[in-house]
Amino acid sequence: MNEIQKQVVIVGGGPAGLAAAVALYDLGIKDLLIVEREKNLGGILRQCIHDGFGLTRFNESLSGPEYAKRFIDEVKNRNIPVITETTVLEITKDHVVRAASRHGLHTWRADAIVLSMGCRERTRGALQIPGERPAGVYTAGVAQSYINLYNTMVGKAVVILGSGDIGLIMARRLTLEGAKVLGVFEILPYPSGLERNVEQCLNDFGIPLYLSHTVTKIHGGHRIQGVTVSRVDYNRKPIPGSDTYYPCDTLVLSVGLIPENELSKMAGVELDIRTSGPVVDASYQTSTPGIFAAGNVLHVHDLVDYVSLEAERLAKGVMDYLVHSYVDDSNVKVIAGKGITYVLPQHIGKKHAPLLSMRVKCPGENVQIVVQQGEEVLVSVEFDEALPAEMIQIPLELDKIQNNNPLEVFVR
């Protein structure tokens, strides 16, 4: 098959891919190609029509499409090559990217590859919610897509499972479009999404939030007729006898995002079970040399502003790889310790100062996060409040690292 040589192929034209492309171009790498499966660039931002994007990057509260446009314009102004309506089918260890479009099969051989495919949603099937499998059960992103992109209304009386940001946003969206949201049920004892979303999306509309609850059965064989909701104990197990039945015609699930790494696996990229994303070094290079990852495909973000920054940092890593064949070989491991769900990069080299990105396991006030190597505390940061819903980023200077022993990041 005809292979076309490229310096860098970027898989996915969402916020991570777009920012990486612009940064790479400005660093002097012009032989780029953004491969996007949709007709338009922008990725998931195309359907996130609410505002709150760009607060730190642009000091403005933009909608998703407007944030995306900032980067799309930059890509257009630089004439960065883009191919749309093209779906990547395969990425190999030796940098061959195979894709399909209406024009045929495309095969590129790239010096470096940027993985920016984003993530998918956890489904009802994965959760195994008991009951029948009727129409009317939607993951929040799918409901959002129907309403905002396909002009299709999904239901009238809605129960939402999961208080992550997408679920909260959809509670408001559905209410604005005339549906009745009966309640948001969250299995944890605290909301999964940002507090300001609880305020603007639930409290504003009098939508009740039930913490420590989950849906334990779906009723209705044809279209959903209702759900059974139960209270859960601190082990997240339903408490017998605490069942309540809520008649509804729609169940929206906002129960987790999973980085979409099927293509990464094909390329031999090692994944971290904690993030479901690739194991990377400080410049976001994966275990397959020359393949880099940023954005939701690497770990699920809550602020797109951080995605753009991450992709821009990645660009420097790609530069170093292309120009100096740089691959992290010193392998100082970074370990998520007590109170930390995950931290990346998972290993650090001698060249790139890492920006440690992490999430805490539980909400807390006056939280101290420590980065320690052996007995030596390298960095310690205090947070008035630390929430699992808000990614924490701590820069680490390379000269702080004493030796090749692993670093541990933990909550004291």
């Binding site: 399909a100 994965a126 002009n151 209304m153």
Partner: protein, 481 residues
């Protein structure tokens, strides 16, 4: 009022096999199917296994027709162009009692005509299925796995190609015998006239039998539940693995699907409803716990979905039915009544159909249909093509280059082809069964919007008319603007 020579009640694998067999003759044939598609009941809710024929009592129709169906299946799958793999199957045991039981099973199987059965030791077992836990097994090399949706749909589409008319969403609610020797079938919509009635209604067979005036049959139901696992574990299970059947408790099987997933199940619960396909938490817990002793590769992170099937338990005046009943009663002329068609119904569908049709043909003596064509060709799935083939497919039809379902690599060409299917099925699940879209790990998260859009555009459906699977399963309530 539509007038037929034969009406088959039930468009499942047996009803469609019968309709197709009938179309070898010059007869006006119709199929009345209750649901909006042909594989929504037993035919689409099973283990998808081709059985070797050793599990049935000697001398029964079940045994004979199962073996007949099993042996000819390569030709059937090739003729109707649906996925089938003759993987073999093992029944795994550990105790002395289980060994004795397997020896009996082997003996019975051999009498029934099952081919190639042998008792194998642990070494051989581990060669066949390295991931299984067990000391010895009965190996049935002729067993296999198939796509039950494509099989049923293939039969139906070939029947249509040969002149059979399908009437979907037509539940038979009353049957009257008219003076002219015709039957009048009243459905939820129109009324039909026919000379012959064939009852292949599966879960509805007893009800239809009563309507025909053949009474004495009773039906109970058991519901079996399955968990579907991600394709990543598929390579760990090269063939179905069953525990040795016990009379004391329900041993749970693990079965690879022909597409590379794994199903865990079924168990069996007595139920009263023939419509409730719910899966309870305790069922899922039991499936995992029990099957894990046999095959310890069942992990929550690999769960994609679950489903349930309802199988009837049949009784006649003497007690539980031991065998398939395929009868043409003289006191209820021009009927063929099929009762008790349950597992191995999938394996035995064609042999059952031939028996049923023979009862009609012997009496009616119709002319042969010289135009009968037994072959049905599926559209080539993009996912099964080599890169060279894929490039050629796209060149010929640009719609092959538009990926709609990215988890299963299903293209717009295939989705459009499925939408314009010969049966006129217009449901989302109908598209799922015909293309594999929405069956992957994202469960339609990426593709369902696109498929719903195409359905509306291609079939001129209003947004509120898009059905999920069964009647009254509307997906949408209207437009936003």
């Amino acid at each position: 009022m539509e007038r037929y020579d034969v009406l088959v009640i039930g468009g499942g694998v047996v009803g469609s096999a019968i309709a197709r067999e009938l179309s070898r003759y010059q007869l006006k044939i119709g199929v009345l199917e209750k649901n909006p598609d042909v594989c929504l009941e037993m035919s689409g809710r099973n283990s998808a296994v081709l059985h070797g024929g050793f599990a049935y009592e000697v001398g029964t129709n079940k045994a004979a027709l199962c073996v007949e169906g099993c042996l000819e299946f390569d030709d059937v799958a090739s003729q109707l162009d649906f996925p089938f793999k003759r993987t073999g199957k093992v029944l795994v045991g550990n105790t002395k009692e289980e060994m004795e039981s397997l020896k009996d099973t082997l003996r019975i199987g051999e009498i029934n005509g099952a081919v190639g059965l042998e008792i194998i030791d642990e070494k051989r077992l581990k060669e066949l299925v390295p991931t299984v836990e067990g000391t010895f097994a009965l190996f049935s090399p002729m067993s296999g796995i198939l796509d039950p949706f494509q099989y049923t749909i293939g039969l139906a589409e070939n029947a249509v190609k040969n002149g059979v008319r399908y009437h979907l969403k037509r539940e038979v609610i009353g049957i009257q015998r008219l003076d002219e020797g015709l039957y009048q079938l009243e459905t939820s919509k129109e009324t039909f006239l026919t000379k012959w009635v064939i009852n292949a209604a599966g879960l509805g067979a007893v009800k239809i039998s009563e309507m025909l005036g053949i009474s004495g049959y009773k039906m109970g139901a058991t519901r079996g539940h399955y968990i579907v696992l991600d394709k990543t574990v598929g390579p760990l299970l090269p063939m179905p693995v069953y525990p040795v059947p016990s009379t004391l408790y329900m041993g749970i099987h693990v079965t690879p699907t022909v597409e590379g997933n794994v199903t865990v199940g079924p168990d069996a619960d007595r139920v009263t409803s023939l419509e409730d396909y719910g899966v309870e938490q305790r069922n899922m817990d039991y499936l995992v716990e029990d099957a894990s002793t046999l095959w310890p590769n069942i992990h929550r992170k690999d769960f994609i979905r679950n489903y349930a099937g309802i199988q009837p338990t049949w009784l006649d005046r003497e007690g539980p039915l031991k065998d398939f009943i395929i009868e043409a009663r003289e006191d209820v002329p021009n009927t063929v009544n099929l009762i008790g068609i349950e597992s191995p119904g999938l394996t035995a569908a064609l042999p059952v159909a031939r028996r049923a049709v023979k009862l009609l043909v012997d009496r009616e003596k119709p002319e042969i249909n010289p135009n009968f064509d037994p072959a049905r060709k599926r559209m080539k799935p993009f996912a099964e093509a080599t890169p060279e083939e894929q490039a050629a497919l796209i060149k010929e039809n640009a719609d092959y280059g538009e990926i709609i379902c990215r988890c299963e690599s299903v293209t717009k060409a295939e989705v459009l082809n499925a939408i314009h299917n010969p049966l006129g099925v217009e449901t989302m699940i109908g598209m799922k069964y015909r293309t594999r879209s929405m069956m992957g790990r994202c469960q339609g998260g990426y593709c369902q919007m696109r498929i719903a859009q195409l359905l509306q555009e291609e079939k001129g459906l209003e947004v509120t008319q898009v059905l999920y699977a069964r009647e009254e399963s509307e997906l949408f309530t209207g437009r936003v603007r």
